[in-house]
Amino acid sequence: MTEVTMTVNGKSVTKSVKGNTLMTEFLREELRLTGTHVGCDTSQCGACVIHVNGEAIKACTMFAAEAQGSEVTTIEGMANADGSLGVIQQAFQDHHGLQCGFCTPGMVMSAAALLKDNPKPTEHEIRDYLEGNICRCTGYHNIVKAIMAASGQDVSGIAAE
């Protein structure tokens, strides 16, 4: 067991973890932050994407021990301070960018990382950036649209409804 200390969604936490404890397990089981999901075991689906020191990473493919001293943000930390939905979250709701909701936390975290680096991405850049996030419900149409809208772009020309 190793003791790790990190800041998760603005709160400092210290826990004893086993070497093989993944960030997904640490968040879901130790901290009860169950918004970070596990959809595969080969690091491809992206349902577990979180931010570590501001960068999007797959929490299923990082050991908690390696997050020592890091700033971690999960989907639970993405709402505004007053509890209302953040800009990206709100755009996903406005544009029906989610259905079953399982991939959604990873999608939102990836979208946030994209917009941080590229505040006005093109459709192509968004689709390319989402290579590591699989959604089985939406066909991606409304996810791409929501991210464009969240970046302040006019999406009224993109298909009805």
């Binding site: 959809g39 595969c40 689906c45 259905q99 989402l130 066909g139 993109i158």
Partner: protein
């Protein structure tokens, strides 16, 4: 102006807030105090005889609570099949047993042999590795044709062959069909494969079993589309737990697409084991485990013949299909290639003679069952591909050939039993031609060719049958269940409402759309209405969500229950208003006396129902809660026309989707935003089938595509923005909402459009390719080009 509330409006989905903030409650988020973890030791061979399972060392490993094998399930029922098909000769299908844990033999890679229950998952897995197995590998039956041949290895020794059934439909039509084909001016023949797919909802399956000794009650939390069906099958047929002692909860479920309809061994196991060890038992599938334990979809091999007269009218269709059942019969497997496939072979066309033959085959592979569309994509693909091939052979325009043969008068009795109540196939085709900008195609092709690419255009129609019913008919066809739906509308004293529905939402947005209907009927605000679903302890017996049935069947039950509420509320209002019940009108949430200014508000009536001080107690019970069960009189028949434009790189064989248009007739629409979303998702799955996805086995029955490293899921950059429309509405004639269902259309209608477009692209480049099997992967397209 689009509506801003009620039926036809697109309010934001209320469920989104919890999903977007990480507050959803999926089954894996549920942990019960004192829970143990279960790990299944699964077969790594496709077929083998179990000589010995020695768990003695494993039992001594740290953390192990108990290890179970097939022996523990002797005397316990096997997993039942919910549909019995009768073959061409009047005999019931072969129905071999399906044990919870393997007994005597293993029959596919992933077949569970033993289950270790331990204090942690790691300990359970460690112990599973210490189990000593002596399994004698046997030759495997993998290819369907070979599996039906003499001397093929038998998946189930006791049934003497690998044939589950040989089904003919309609058997009495066979002679007329043979005759019509013999005398036809032209016959187009096509042999094709509708490949095996894996549904892949992003949430892998999870089951948590709990047992309370205090009242001898079991609770199962599970990732299910239909918790009541699981309760019935597991309680009555597998474990012998009476329904009042068994609660099944399906909380937030992360997608289903059919594969979460079925009752699985893992559900029965955790429920059984929790009773045995008197502790909760949790099982969470890894994705790798999902690939070898979730029921797969499709897997048909078909020969279709389309006969035309000299004027290009369709005169007959004859098909022969081999349908893979896998190693065991999954819950509804036998119905998919038969009643969900044969009945749709008429498509949108008036073909007088149709005969469908299906041989269902057992193989040493994962069981196959319904996956989004279930039988209907298989019917649509072969029909729409053979029509396109016929158009090329005859040198006629594929759209004109379709239009010429459209059914135009309704109701239409097909030669394959079903009766289409309504539709307008020319209207959706007209809409499609406009959306797809066919006029601009030539210029777009030229632009592609200037870049060294080929460009192709493909179109197809589809029809599907949703809301499968009525119960008495499906009973005759072999269903071992009813296919009604239930709803309870519970009005509270202050006027708020809880609607308890047997439909289950796992992405479809029922929590938003269902209140729109009730709000519209009552004239109250949608925010006053909540939907409760997914818990057998709360809701009346329901059949769940599959086959695009929720609104058409579950929504209709809700309408019927709400009508009962209105009737009773009017009685109460008439008492409060001292007026005749016949004069009471309900509008905008107010009951008024016709022709007067006297009225009472909704809330006054609901309060009177629960505080019946001024109330006709002698004639009317207090309270305001009604239940309805709705059993439809017919299927609904959504239909539409789809167009796809592809670009093909002749150097690599890679196909990209450049444009996709879908014109659907779903009847009336409650929430257009949700309907479009359903179509988008279906299209991506259909495009996935057409270009990317394939669940492949090698000749020994080893699963080759066992993870996302080899099973190609559609990603954001594999698909374009889609153009979808559902303005061509012919309302269903037999349900109160006039709705038809929209969940599966996209997956049913899109694969032939893509392949038709790929063939068009190849032919435009001078390649004489008549057909290409799905997925049209780069290597397959390249190989087809190089003959």
């Amino acid at each position: 102006m689009p509506k801003d509330h009620g039926i036809g409006a697109s309010p934001k989905r209320r469920e989104d807030v919890r999903f977007l903030t990480g507050a959803g409650q999926y089954t894996d988020d549920i942990n019960v105090y004192g829970q143990t973890y279960c790990y299944f030791l699964r077969s790594d061979v496709a077929h083998g005889k179990i000589n010995r399972i020695d768990t003695s060392d494993a039992e001594k490993m740290p953390g192990v609570v108990r290890i179970f094998t097939g022996k523990d399930f002797e005397g316990v029922g096997g997993l039942p099949c919910g549909w019995q098909v009768t073959d061409r000769f009047g005999q019931p299908m072969k129905e071999p047993g399906h044990p919870v844990l393997a007994q005597g033999k293993v029959r596919h890679v992933g077949d569970p042999i033993a289950a270790v229950v331990a204090d942690s998952l790691e300990e359970a897995r460690n112990a599973a590795e210490a189990i000593v197995l002596d399994i004698e590998e046997l030759p495997a039956a993998v290819d369907m044709k070979a599996a039906l041949g003499d001397g093929a290895p038998l998946v189930h020794d006791d049934i003497g062959s690998n044939l589950c059934y040989d089904w003919g439909f309609v058997e009495d039509n066979k002679g007329a069909v043979d005759e019509a084909i013999k005398n036809a001016a032209h016959v187009t023949t096509l042999e094709l494969v509708n490949q095996r797919l894996v549904a892949n909802p992003m949430e892998p399956r999870v089951a948590v079993g709990d047992y309370s000794r205090a009242n001898d009650e079991s609770t199962l939390y599970t990732t299910s589309q239909n918790p009541h069906v699981i309760r019935l099958l597991m309680g009555a047929f597998v474990l012998g737990i009476p329904e009042h002692k068994l609660r099944v909860v399906a909380p937030d479920v992360g997608g289903g697409f059919g594969t979460k309809i079925f009752h699985y061994a893992e559900e029965a196991f955790v429920t059984f084991a929790a009773r045995k060890i008197n502790r909760p038992v949790k099982w969470t599938a890894s994705r790798s485990e999902a690939f070898m334990s979730d029921a797969h979809g499709r897997d048909h091999v078909t020969k279709i013949e389309l006969a035309l007269d000299k004027d290009n009218n369709f005169v007959a269709i004859r098909t022969e299909t081999l349908a893979n059942m896998g190693a065991y019969l999954s819950t509804f497997a036998p119905s998919v290639p038969t009643w969900l496939h044969g009945t749709l072979m008429a498509g949108n066309y008036k073909t007088p003679n149709i005969y469908v033959n299906v041989k269902a085959v057992f193989t040493n592979t994962v069981p196959v069952d319904a996956y989004r569309g279930a039988g209907r994509p298989e019917a649509t693909f072969q029909l729409e591909r053979v029509i396109d091939k016929a158009a090329r052979e005859l040198g006629v325009d594929p759209i004109a050939l379709r239009r010429q043969n459209f059914v135009t008068e309704f109701p239409y009795q097909t030669p394959v039993a079903v009766v289409y109540d309504t539709g307008d196939y020319n209207a959706t085709m007209n809409k499609l031609e406009e959306m797809a900008d066919i006029k601009g195609f030539a210029a777009r092709r030229k632009a592609s060719e200037a870049k060294g690419k080929l460009r192709g255009f493909g179109v197809n129609c589809y029809i599907e049958a949703c809301g499968i019913a009525p119960s008495n008919l499906v009973g005759q066809l072999g269903a071992r269940a009813g296919l009604y739906e239930s709803a309870t509308v519970r009005v509270n004293a202050t006027g708020t409402i809880s609607v308890y529905t047997g439909s289950h939402s796992h992405g479809q947005g029922h929590e938003t759309a269902f209140p729109q209907v009730v709000a519209e009927m009552l004239g109250i605000d949608e925010s006053m209405i909540d939907i409760v679903h997914g818990d057998t302890s709360k809701i009346p017996m329901g059949m769940g969500t599959y086959g695009s049935r929720s609104l058409a069947v579950g929504g209709s039950a809700m309408v019927r229950a709400t009508e009962k509420i209105i009737n009773k509320a009017k009685k109460i209002a008439s008492h409060l208003l001292e007026a005749s019940e016949a004069d009471i009108e309900l509008k905008d949430g107010k009951f008024s006396v016709a022709g007067t200014d006297k009225s009472v508000a909704w809330g006054d009536v609901t309060l009177a129902a629960y505080v019946p001080h001024n109330y006709p107690l002698e004639d009317l019970e207090p309270g305001l809660e009604e239940t309805a069960f709705y059993d439809p009189s017919n299927f609904t028949y959504p239909a539409g026309a789809y167009a796809c434009e592809v670009e093909l790189d002749p150097e690599t064989g890679k196909v990209t989707i450049e444009r996709f248009a879908a014109a659907d007739d779903f009847g009336n629409i409650v929430n257009p935003m949700i309907v479009s979303g359903q179509v988008h998702g279906g299209l991506a799955q259909g495009i996935g089938q057409a270009l990317l996805e394939s669940c492949a086995y090698d000749e020994n029955g080893q699963l080759l595509s066992a993870s996302y490293m080899d099973y190609a899921m559609p990603r954001a950059d594999d698909v374009p923005f889609y153009s979808v429309d559902h303005s061509c509405a012919t309302p269903c004639t037999h349900n109160p909402l006039g709705v038809k269902g929209c969940g599966e259309a996209g997956a049913i209608g899109s694969p032939p459009a893509v392949i038709n477009a790929v063939i068009d692209a190849l032919q435009s480049g001078g390649h004489k390719v008549e057909h290409i099997n799905m997925p049209a992967s780069p290597q397959r397209v390249w190989a087809a080009m190089h003959g």
